[in-house]
Symmetry: C2
Subunit: 299 residues, 2 copies
């Protein structure tokens, strides 16, 4: 795809938060031969042991500043609600040229946290990133070196982000096989509310409504593969999704309003087969025309 | 699972409607060595050619009565809206002991059609059936011998359905690897509205709402695997789903009301993280506890 030469290896990578996303970033850089030393940060001793067992980190600590000291790349992979406090903790340890990235699923709130926690010099080295990859199973034990292969990664640089920091971020993600997009934090949050956050909210609500019914258990015993796929994302991690939906509430509400209008139209058409068919046809056509981001173009 | 002896082979099977469901039933019986001769019914010459090419039918016709004449088992696999007219056409050709089944996704309307089209003697041989299997791709070219293996098949016999007809229906489906349930048509329609029909309506509406937005195309380019699975059923066949949603409109509306109440609660909690987390936790727990119908129990 790309004719760019491979990026310079990372000398010291600090992964702040050794979960699925942070762990997979470290494993992917290792597999590509693009990192010399990895320091992992996790709060609990158990998490540090798991990160070591998975081969993610050469050393592990619970201190973000200690990990960031001397690092040329710092990846922040904590829940988005913890962004500001974590940035404040590690900021003093950042060198002048340390590349700082996050992997948060929302961007306007992460950027606001970075503006609050970082001075101008450090803010210029911060490249907010959102790799659209993941599984409904969180945790470093599910981390893998190819999580980002073919996945879209959205960078949302600020006006003051240094051009060379953006370039370094882009080439690192591309070296892991990701397809890099760039847009503003606001554009990112609007798009993700539409294609990810609202679908999660709908799947949570559908599962909740079903499970609360007196006959819910009997009904669920009859659910098949369509239900399995439709509700897969309803099994997602509650704390992660609490933070995402709360942080992006305004855009999620806007998408929910558009969805409710469509649902109203479908419900009103239940007794009018011709109109109902036209509505379903438009939806079915749109879904058939869609291909997952990162999928190779059709021949 | 079952210690029952294998059922007697079907001498002449008439498959009225050679699509995914009817075609797979014929292929599965063939693979099990449980059918001697298959007559397929399809309206268009092209569909008859495809059914022959797929190995579904030994002979093909466009005349339901001609196919049913002399058959010991007739499987009705036409869109549910065509049930009554098709039953009227083939009823005079049914022998006294012909087992008649359908595969419709709704049951109260199919039973009403059968009551209108069949006399008491023939109604006693009708065993309404709904195999919960399928793909978002319809058509005999996707038919396969193992479509029903492990799938739930719901029988909704009437008070006047003969016991031996029910037994024969049950043993045939079990011989194909299906897990047979029995309930009333009304219970069936309430359960399927919850676990299948409403999820389809929601997926159609979500896809419709997204595709209609000015930025819908740009947003869709960023959608990932969660979106792919959540919307897979939105690609389903418009005519089939027009009929299902229209036929079961009352139960679908009841489920939609329960869903809307849940969505209201989730939206109201977007600004209250603790409450939002509790709601997501309940949904996530319910989804993790669920296993697809027909899945083997965990060890």
């Amino acid at each position: 795809m790309s004719t760019a030469s491979p990026p310079e290896p990372v000398q010291r990578l600090a992964v702040i938060g050794c979960g699925l996303m942070g762990g997979s970033f470290a494993l992917a850089l290792r597999a590509a031969g693009l990192v010399r030393h990895v320091v992992g940060v996790a709060r609990s001793p158990e998490a540090r042991t798991r990160a070591a067992a998975r081969g993610v980190a050469d050393e592990a600590t619970d201190d973000p500043a200690a990990a960031a000291r001397g690092a040329d790349v710092v990846l922040l992979a904590v829940p988005v609600a913890a962004t500001e406090a974590t940035l404040r903790a590690l900021a003093p340890a950042l060198a002048d040229d340390t590349l700082l990235m996050d992997v948060g699923s929302t961007k306007a709130d992460v950027v606001a946290a970075a503006r609050a926690a970082l001075d101008a010099r450090r803010l210029a080295r911060f490249v907010p990133a959102h790799p659209i990859a993941g599984k409904e199973k969180a945790g470093v034990e599910h981390a893998c070196a190819d999580l980002y292969r073919g996945a879209p990664v959205i960078l949302t640089p600020l006006p003051q982000t240094a051009a060379d920091a953006q370039r370094r971020a882009r080439t690192l993600w591309q070296a892991l096989g990701a397809r890099v997009h760039a847009m503003s934090p606001h554009e990112h949050d609007a798009a993700l509310a539409a294609v990810s956050h609202l679908p999660h909210l709908l799947a949570f609500a559908a599962m909740h409504a079903l499970a609360q019914q007196p006959d819910g258990g009997r009904f669920l015993a009859l659910a098949g593969p369509g239900f399995r796929d439709f509700t897969r994302i309803a099994a997602s991690d509650p704390e992660v999704w609490r933070d995402i939906l709360h942080a992006n509430a305004a855009e999620v509400r806007a998408q929910a309003a558009a969805f409710r209008a469509a649902l109203d139209a479908f419900e009103a058409a239940l007794d009018e087969p011709a109109r109902l068919q036209r509505l379903i046809e438009a939806a079915s056509r749109a879904r058939r025309a869609w291909a997952p981001a990162g999928a190779p173009p059709s021949p």
